[in-house]
Subunit: 115 residues, 2 copies
């Protein structure tokens, strides 16, 4: 596995294009504990706006990372779940958790630096 690479088709670059959007990794993390409905995601990701949530879910569905299933219940429900490709993000999420713990250990305050 090579990190460095300058091509446009560089694996790291391709991964970056998926995960760089705000909220993207957090949405995927939620889906690791099983399929979720729109409103469940909205509640879990406390401050996300419905607009951004819709956009991200659509984006992830288009890339084949999640599936969307609509049920004609009353009121209607929609379920989002990870595809096998989406599940491949597990080691990435784990690496994020690991790094986040390092930040906490080193007492680096991530939020309160800018004035």
């Amino acid at each position: 596995m090579e990190i460095s690479c300058s091509k446009d088709t560089c694996p790291v670059k391709l991964a970056a294009e998926i995960i760089e959007g705000k909220w993207t990794t957090l949405i995927i993390r939620e889906l690791f504990s099983g399929k979720k409905r729109y409103s469940e995601l909205q509640r879990a990701l406390n401050k996300i706006s419905p607009k951004v949530l819709s956009a991200r879910l659509k984006f992830l569905e288009e890339r084949g990372l999640i599936t969307r299933a609509v049920f004609a219940t009353i009121p209607p429900t929609t379920e989002y779940a990870l595809t096998p490709i989406g599940y491949k993000l597990e080691s990435l999420l784990l690496a994020m958790a690991e790094f986040g713990n390092e930040l906490i250990k080193k007492e680096i305050n991530v939020k309160i630096i800018s004035p």
Copy 2:
């Protein structure tokens, strides 16, 4: 290592705040092959604008992930390098590379979907 967590101090969330900005992971990737000057980074990350490059480098320096060293040569040079904390991102970068390779394997075209 637990992925799921709803607190504001969740490790995944903390990591997301660092890496979610555009270009951030790619800048860090460049620094894994050793310290680099501003112009070297600019050339390596072909399409980055100087404004964003400066902003990202400043951001990463403030968080303690990279160091900045200025030399009074003519013309002046600046060297950026990873700190020990910055190096902790290695497994994250590797996971990104791994995931990028999965995308290539599955022949998912990441770029040419939107019209």
